[in-house]
Symmetry: C2
Subunit: 199 residues, 2 copies
C-alpha cells in the first residue's frame, strides 16, 4: 500500500486483521476514523484498551465480563435453578434478546471437537459439574449449536449430568421460522419430522 502514507497504511493493516474485515472495509473504516472528531477516536481507542485490560470470566457462569459476577448472575430476580448451557457469550446474548428466558447461563467457551483436538477438558465443563454439585439446580438446558460439535457436546453433558438426578433438556432442532422447506437441508427436515409435536 505504498500509495498510503505509513500511519494510514498501518491503521488499515491493523483493521484488516479483524475478522470479516476485508481490505476494502478496512480502508473505509480507516478513512472514517480519520474524519471522526478526536474525542470520538479517543473514546473508541479507550474502549478497546479498557475492555481488553479488564475482561475476565464471570466467577459463576464463565461468560466474559469485567466484574466478578456478570449482570445476569448478579440479578437476584432471575431463576438461578435453571441453567442454560451455551457455547459462547454471543449465544448467551442471542437468547437474552428473546427476553423469554429468565434462568441463568453457563458458557462453555467452545464445543467438543476431536477433529480440532478440543476435548472435554478444553471447555468449561468441569466448572459446570462443580457448579451443579454446589448449587440446587432443577434443570440444565443444553443450547449448544446444532452442529456435529454441538451435538457431541450435548450428548456428553447429558451423560455426565443425568446420573446426578438433574433434568437435562436439549433445545429443539427443526425448520427455522420463516424458513422455506424447499431450500432446507435433509438433515434439518428429518430433525423437524422426528421432533414433530401434536397440534
Amino acid at each position: 500500500m505504498e500509495y498510503y502514507s505509513r500511519q494510514i497504511s498501518n491503521l488499515i493493516g491493523e483493521l484488516s486483521r479483524l475478522p470479516s474485515i476485508g481490505s476494502k472495509t478496512a480502508q473505509r473504516l480507516a478513512f472514517h476514523i480519520l474524519s471522526m472528531p478526536k474525542n470520538d477516536v479517543k473514546a473508541l481507542s479507550d474502549a478497546i484498551i479498557e475492555a481488553r485490560e479488564n475482561v475476565r470470566y464471570c466467577k459463576k457462569c464463565y461468560t466474559l465480563t469485567d466484574d466478578e459476577l456478570c449482570p445476569i448472575c448478579k440479578n437476584e430476580s432471575r431463576n438461578h435453578r435453571i441453567i442454560m448451557v451455551v457455547e459462547n457469550s454471543r449465544d448467551l446474548a442471542a437468547y437474552e434478546k428473546t427476553g423469554k428466558f429468565d434462568g441463568v447461563y453457563h458458557v462453555l467457551h467452545g464445543a467438543i471437537s476431536p477433529m480440532n483436538g478440543i476435548g472435554p477438558a478444553d471447555i468449561k465443563l468441569k466448572e459446570l459439574m462443580t457448579r451443579l454439585s454446589e448449587e440446587d439446580i432443577d434443570e440444565v438446558i443444553i443450547a449448544t449449536n446444532s452442529s456435529l460439535e454441538g451435538e457431541t457436546t450435548a450428548m456428553y453433558i447429558s451423560k455426565l449430568v443425568k446420573p446426578a438426578g438433574i433434568k437435562v433438556t436439549r433445545i429443539a432442532s427443526g425448520v427455522p421460522v420463516g424458513g422455506d422447506i424447499e431450500y432446507i437441508d435433509e438433515v434439518t427436515l428429518l430433525r423437524a419430522l422426528e421432533g414433530r409435536t401434536e397440534l
Copy 2:
C-alpha cells in the same frame, strides 16, 4: 445490552458506531478483540490514535497523509505533468491498484452537490486551480464518480480548466468488464453506446 457488562457493552457500542458495522458484527469484533493478545490490542488502539493525531492533507494533492507530501507526490519517477482528479483518497487508491497510471493526483474531498448544499467552494477546487497556475501541467484527467454529483463536478472543472489551455479528459463510462448487459441500467447502456470505439 444489560446482559453484557459495562465495558463490553461500551466496546460493542463504540464499534457499532463505525460505518457498515451493525450490532452483530460489532459483537463479533468485540469478542475477537477480547480474545486477542494484549500486545495486538495495544497495536490496534495505537494505530487508531496515531493515524488520527497526525493525519493531514498532502500540501500538493490534498490526499490524506501523515507527512508534508504524500508518497505519490514525493515520487520523482512519476509524471507530475498529468493530474488525475478524484473525489477522495480511496478513489486514488483504487486507481493506484491498477498499477497503470504513472501521473499524480488531486483529491477534491467531495463533489459538487447542490442538493446537499455542497458547492464548488466546499471541495478542493481552488487548490486545484492554484496548482494548475503554478505547475506545468499537460493534462487533467477527471475521474470523479459516474454519478450526478460526479458528472456535475466534471463539467464544472472542465469549464474552469479549458480556458487555461490545458487538455481536460474524462474517464470512460460504460459497461463494466464482466458486466451482464441484461442487468445493466439504461443510462449506462446509453453511455456505452455513445462512447463506442471502432475496432
